[in-house]
Amino acid sequence: MRAILTTVGQDKTGIVAGVSGFLAEKEINILDLSQTILNGYFTMMMVVDVPDDADFTALSSELKDLGKKLGVEINIRNEKMYAAMHELSGGLE
């Protein structure tokens, strides 16, 4: 499943390394990545390829824990969610 991982928080060193290191450990491939400072906050978006046999619930909660450790908010959601909301026909069959 293609998913979008968002990371928001105070900018500091090690956020990208922390998140990408975790994903590498889980063998989750990063397909696209962009980051900026939005309203004063470090904001990063990654498009990732989550293996079909991965436990999404566990992954989601581990990422939240990682966020706490890094002092940022991390969320992962199915990519269809964003396509549905922002594209005229996106995400829907």
Binding site: I4, L38, M45, N75, M81, A83, M85, H86
Partner: protein
């Protein structure tokens, strides 16, 4: 995809209370009819617990995968007055208890369909069911009841209007909160995913999944960015926001029905508020430019809001249904509560508002000494608005024993609390006691 758009979605969910209000599985019980009520109840229990076995699990999986809360998981069934009529039982409490047991077994919040459709007249099952409502609501926790007393096509059954006023008072004597689980409709819809008025109509599939969206907080935030702009801009902003909100419902409903192996019914476009700060329809109207909801201009602002939500939502999903409009419950909306407490929002103004939006006088607390005929007259007024305007209207009114204007009643959870609103003291009894039927209006003859 553009990072700003991604973050707009994240903000809606994390900071603006965007959620799916309900995923509701409608289940037909027509194949459970049996002349032996014990046998019928066993079939009902078996069918519900089989068909809805995975409903809660699938909804929870989708909550995680899409990262959007699904506030309620619910079930609606065929009106029990039709299912139980074959049994010849003298009360249907047993059926309500079965529904309650099945709802608990599969873990849903509420189950709707302890209902009767009497807009033109009663069949025997309707009579028994309506008489059973007070005991059924007393004996159960999750069962919701509704009665349709009028329609544009058939007029208003004033005998039923009279009887429902009495039923509300009977409920009040047992436990006033039970009236929160009873809705009296005109033009009830068959695919309503919201409670307490949901039931699964006879024209529906055997099993169908319906979804109700929410999102008042999201609309309010969007309007904060267009302060001082013309009403055209306000309407357009609401329309675009409603599109986005509704798309969540379409996506989750489609995916849930696929995983459950059932038909995807409809998305209900209602803007459903909760008592949470920032999740209020009243606050949207105030953002449009009213000092308080209930003042002059409220009806116009609400009419525009309701229409713009529909225009955006209809484009966003394949099948729209249910109630689809802005809900204006007194107790479930922090802005409505505040305006009612100050006496700015009155029952009369609410009644005017119900002419331009869904759904009716909803969760209205009234003094404990309100006579049954006055409750019936409130039902009749709402039914008349629905009948003439070709729309659904409803009454969910809660008389609170021993309390009057200035007091309030606490419902808990999503239902919030409600300050008691004054009702007119002058009697409507002579009109209500006439009974009979109000004939269908002239514009119903379209064939």
């Amino acid at each position: 995809m553009d990072l700003r758009r991604i973050m707009e979605t994240v903000n809606m969910i994390d900071n603006e209370n965007l959620d799916l209000r309900t995923t509701t599985m409608g289940i037909s019980l027509l194949d459970c009819i049996d002349s032996y009520s014990d046998k019928a109840c066993q079939k009902i229990y078996d069918k519900i617990t089989t068909k809805a076995e995975k409903l809660v699990k699938v909804a929870k999986d989708l909550e995680t995968e899409y990262g959007i809360p699904i506030a309620n998981k619910r079930i609606t069934v065929t009106p029990i007055s039709l299912i139980a009529a074959a049994s010849g039982d003298s009360d249907y409490v047993k059926y309500a208890v079965t529904l309650d047991k099945a709802a608990k077994a599969v873990g849903v919040d509420l189950i709707g369909g302890f209902s009767a459709l009497v807009h033109k007249g009663y069949q025997n099952g309707d009579r028994v069911l309506i008489k059973s409502i007070p005991e059924a609501l007393k004996a159960t926790e999750r069962v919701c009841s509704s009665v349709n007393v009028g329609s544009t096509r058939s007029g208003i059954n004033m005998d039923a209007v009279k009887e429902m006023g009495q039923i509300v008072i009977e409920n009040e004597k047992i436990n006033p909160l039970n009236n929160g689980n009873l809705v009296i409709f005109c033009n009830a819809v068959e695919d309503n995913p919201f409670m307490a008025g949901g039931f699964h109509g006879v024209g529906e599939s055997d099993v169908a999944l319906n979804v109700g969206v929410s999102g008042p907080g999201v609309v309010k935030k969007a309007l904060e960015k267009v302060k001082g702009e013309s009403m055209d801009v306000v309407a357009e902003t609401i329309k675009q926001t409603a599109f986005k909100v509704t798309r969540m419902g379409q996506l989750v409903g489609q995916e849930a029905s696929k995983r459950l192996g059932v038909d995807f019914g409809i998305v209900d476009l209602s803007l459903a508020p909760t008592p949470a700060q920032g999740d209020s329809v009243a606050n949207i109207l105030e953002e449009i430019g009213l000092e308080s909801v209930g003042t002059h201009g409220t009806t116009a602002a609400l009419a525009m809001l309701n229409d713009a939500v529909k225009k955006g939502g209809i484009m966003a999903c394949s099948h729209v249904g249910g109630l689809s409009g802005a809900f204006i419950p007194e107790s479930e909306d922090a802005g409505m509560i505040a305006a009612a407490e100050k006496g700015i929002l009155t029952v009369d103004k609410l009644e005017a508002m119900t002419a331009v939006c869904s759904v009716g006088l909803d969760m209205i607390a009234v003094p404990g000494d309100t006579p049954a005929e006055t409750i019936s007259a409130m039902i009749a007024d709402e039914a008349a608005i629905g009948m003439i305007n070709n729309k659904t209207t409803a009454v969910r009114v809660i008389p609170v024993p021993g309390k009057g204007v200035g007091d309030s009643i606490e419902f808990g959870g999503l239902f919030g609390y409600a300050p008691i609103m004054p009702v007119h003291k002058e009697s409507s009894a002579a009109m209500i006691n006439r009974g009979g039927r109000i004939p269908a209006p002239v514009h119903s003859f379209k064939n």
